[in-house]
Symmetry: C2
Subunit: 614 residues, 2 copies
């Protein structure tokens, strides 16, 4: 045991014993602490910043990468990269808030969508005769006969779990029971008035949004968001595919942390609904959840189902499965009713997933016009254009810059993030999330800073900073825009926007714009023929459309045609949870959609280069 040392993590106060020379990122994982690691622990992103307070701590010397990715001031104040720092003795590590993979403003609200109420689960209340006439019938045949009389269904089949309850249920409550049927299968019997719940979950690369729904009334009982715990294995899709390929149990881990998080969400959704006493005298619990719909991009879909992901990471990026599938919740380790199914909505291709199909589903009801552009911004941005019967989709690798990653002072939309920015005669003005002391810039703030800087001539068409402007100074790595001085910032560090940061945004917005332009070309219309632009996703909801048009991320279309719908994928999942017909619609759309592969599209690099300009 002489090679083992103790590490404690602050402010959590967790302490573990590990092998000497383990790096801090690995140690944190072992302690169950999720540190943000955009690159998947590949030592490339610089997002896993931690702090060591003591002088001459027993750790490895800073690496060349750390000298490159960290400021001198940072290094001097004890900031290190967790993935680069080996532990050589007993140590105390402090994790700054921005390095935690959690606690962030999340998007669970979507526009209200009208839906049909014809869920996959049919609820039938009936009374079994406790003293039946025909006793040579089996209990199930008697039940099936009554059901057929009542709902005129054809042949019914029994689920074993239901049969295990049947004799006891016949004896209770003078035979009053509530029967649940799915596609001709009698799957459950419950006491009269028992809640029949469903769950809709949007599994984003970064965030999960979950909804608890009453399948009887269609009412949304509670909503919750949380971070996707997979984030500690890589912030974007490619980093996670790489992680799954590198580690023997990589896929298992990606699957397990996600399922654990889903289980936690379902419990918390029930608790939340109980606290709000939406169903007085009835305690809701996960056992009552009998149906669920999960949407996500193709990687999320594959990891939720524990399907191999390697081939998603290499050309031609083929999915194992794109069609919709119903899977037993139990088989996936999801702790709801033992007879619950999970409906996974269909994917379109390796890089256009069920979350986008789900978004298109809400468009069905939301929009009455006929030429519609759908944009769902995330680490991958999916874009679809529909005109009449035609529906074309593509996916562009916009990266995590809008989540604040790869940006020097970038951060997620947590307390203290600059989310609005404008330049007045009095200088720079900004608003922060929850009015916190400024500690960095989140996606919508980044857009505003760029748009305002362009308008005021601080940044030119190519992204170069005007060194003459009083807000621009020359930093360690060239010119940078000083947004907030260290003394006014939460962490006593300057909040800046460097030329490198601007380049990152140029790449991201260029990718999105190139995708939009290629779809417009493909359909053969002019941009202003688009009658509605539906922008979804958390960032998509908070961004300022004017800023997005100013920096050239979106085409210059009349602002009134833009509609920011929030979590459209989540709303689509609810729609599918409540309606079999909508599930079929989604399947039909996913089949009919044409997928435009941008990677080898002859015009892509040209469009991309143009789209990077401001």
């Amino acid at each position: 045991m002489s090679d083992e040392v103790f590490v404690s993590f602050q402010p959590i106060g967790k302490r573990i014993q590990i092998e000497k020379e383990t790096n801090i990122l690995e140690a944190a994982r072992k302690a169950g602490i999720r540190i943000s690691a955009v690159c998947g622990g590949e030592s490339r992103c610089g997002s896993c910043r931690i702090k060591i307070l003591e002088d001459n701590p027993p750790v490895s010397e800073p690496s060349p990468t750390e000298y490159e990715l960290l400021d001198k001031v940072d290094l001097e104040s004890g900031i290190r990269l967790a993935c680069h720092t080996e532990i050589l003795g007993n140590l105390e590590v402090t994790i700054p808030p921005e390095s935690f993979s959690q606690s962030q403003r999340l998007q669970v609200e979507g526009h209200e969508v009208y839906y049909d109420l014809d869920p996959a689960i049919q609820i039938v209340d009936l009374r079994l005769d406790p003293d039946p006439h025909q006793t040579d019938l089996s209990l199930f045949d008697e039940l099936a006969g009554l059901l057929q009389q009542k709902i005129g269904s054809k042949e019914l089949f029994p689920e074993v779990e239901m049969l295990r309850k049947l004799p006891e249920m016949v004896r209770q409550f003078a035979g009053e029971i509530r029967v649940l049927i799915r596609k001709g299968w009698v799957i459950d019997i419950r006491l009269p008035l028992s809640p029949v719940l469903g769950c809709a979950v949007d599994v984003g690369t970064t965030k999960l949004a979950a909804y608890l729904v009453d399948l009887e009334s269609g009412e949304i009982l509670s909503k919750l968001g949380t971070m996707n715990p997979q984030i500690s294995f890589g912030e974007d899709v490619m980093a996670r595919i790489a992680y799954a390929g590198k580690q023997e149990d990589g896929l298992d881990l990606l699957h397990t942390v996600l399922v654990d998080s889903l289980n936690d969400l379902v419990s918390r959704l029930c608790e939340q609904a109980n606290q709000e006493r939406l169903k007085p005298n009835i305690e809701l619990n996960p056992e009552q959840v009998i149906d669920a719909v999960i949407v996500g991009n193709t990687l999320m879909h594959h990891t939720a189902l524990k399907l191999p992901v390697k081939q998603l990471g290499v050309a031609p990026y083929r999915a194992s499965l794109t069609s919709a599938i119903d899977v037993k919740a139990k088989g996936l380790g999801i702790k709801v009713s033992p007879v619950a199914d999970i409906h996974f909505m269909p994917n379109i291709a390796g890089f256009v997933g069920a979350d986008h199909v789900s978004m298109l589903l809400t468009g069905d009801k939301l929009i009455s016009t006929s030429t519609i552009l759908f944009i769902d911004i995330g680490t991958n941005t999916e874009v679809s254009l529909t005109r009449g019967d035609l529906l074309i989709s593509c996916s562009t690798a916009s990266g995590p810059a809008f989540e604040g990653a790869h940006i020097g002072s970038g951060m997620r939309a947590v307390d203290g993030a600059i989310e609005k920015f404008f330049i007045t005669e009095d200088g720079f003005k900004f608003l922060t999330v929850a009015q916190g002391k400024p500690s960095g810039i989140c996606g919508s703030g980044i857009l505003d800073i760029l748009a305002q800087s362009i308008k005021h001539g601080i940044i030119n068409r190519n992204g170069a900073l005007n060194k003459e402007h009083p807000g621009v100074r020359i930093g360690d790595k060239g010119p940078e825009l000083l947004i907030v001085k260290a003394e006014e910032a939460a962490h006593n560090r300057d909040i800046v926007m460097s030329r490198k940061d601007i380049s990152e945004i140029q790449l991201a917005k260029g990718a999105i714009r190139a995708g939009i332009e290629l779809l417009i070309k493909e359909v053969g219309i002019a941009a202003n023929e688009i009658e509605q632009v539906v922008v979804a996703g958390a960032f998509g909801t908070y961004l300022d459309v004017n800023s997005a048009v100013t920096i050239g991320m979106f085409p210059d279309i009349d602002r009134s045609r833009f509609i920011q719908v929030g979590n459209a994928a989540g709303m689509g999942a609810i729609t599918a949870l409540l309606s079999i017909k909508q599930r079929e619609n989604a399947i039909k759309m996913a089949k009919e959609v044409r997928y435009l592969e941008l990677a080898n599209h002859p015009d892509f690099s040209n469009e991309f280069t143009m789209a990077m300009m401001f």
Copy 2:
């Protein structure tokens, strides 16, 4: 720990620590040793005989029941009833061979039956293009397309387990794969030439018979029999229902020991087939078993599925389920392929199970005449009579007497059991199983003894023994027929047939005969209009038909019309394993059969009284 004592069991040599005052039956169960307990530990049957060799052992004094059920000689030699003997100190217990619930001549052979080969699993060999043209298809859609081309099937659905293997399989062997399809579901992909196995199991109250079958060729690869391990919780159906009702985890235990035994059988079936090298160069294993058929009486069916059994034990003895059902093997804990289904054939009623339906299924092909009597003798005996379109069944509680239980010198058909008996001028002659030294009498021997005794005037019509006969002596409990003297017997105990034993047989054979007569009456024919009598079951196969007719168990029909088919239930299960059409036939028969309830039949007690006569 002062209240804990050590018990060791001989000849096994197992030693455990248990609480003082535990009875020996309970202690044996805890040690994982299955002692025969016909009555389910209800202290009624006297079958759980054990021996304590030391003088003044630390155990409770013999109870009045033990004085009643055990001979004075037995008690003096240290024989006790395990369920009546409490352990008061460290102890060594010896279990006589006849008290073990195992090792018995078993019946896995049935008459050869012709069958159709159209199993539930469709096997398709094909080649996936390792460098396909259309790369925007998902891997599954590509596979489904090829399958549809090849076999012209309609829509195909993917099983998740199969999808988990798909990417790797595409890369291997240049895309050569073997695909398994069940009812439109692509459930598995395997390497080319992989064995595709099925299992058929007849779960008898006393015995299990299992068959390993190649689903590609229809060939039976191996066969095995073993005791039903549930026997240590009660030898007959009613004792086990009582056990499940009494113990909180009773049903769980009945289910678990059965599943453990099934898992063991499947492994051993594979080993046996491997030893016989039926498939050279290919190692068979349980993972290759993709389909199974289980038949058994309604209680076996319910315990295998872990369905509550309480209502099977009280009038009107209703089954929870009679219709056929397919259940995931995994969900039942059966360790075969994770995607295997178990097909449970339909039951007819609470006391006429799938084993009898299975027997009728073999009759379909076996018999060409039109009026057929089916008799399946077990602890419950099922009788069916078919004439033209009419099919009537009943069940009679014949009890375990023919298994040697409730009979003083009775035993199962293990080594040393008297299985044939005849009276010559030179006296009594007999044959024993495996030519062992005689240690008791098994079912067929009991029938012969009675038939021969009747013929030679030793027993009269009422069952009374002729005290004048030199073979008859007066024992402790009245007159008895001395078959083998102690000095010639294996355990140094007289082998006898007492008046009480004869009464037991009268009850058993009376029940069977009454069932037969009532069916004949119901159909409205004379006995000699029956063109074929099919006798199934292990005992049914070994019994001498002449003896059975002499004692009046069977009606006096021309002997040539009797056919002893062995394990017809097992053969029927194989038939259903190999043919979807036969499964449908069974479902049709189970639906159309008329069940005659004997319990409250107005003529039953009259018929029964008459049928008890010799």
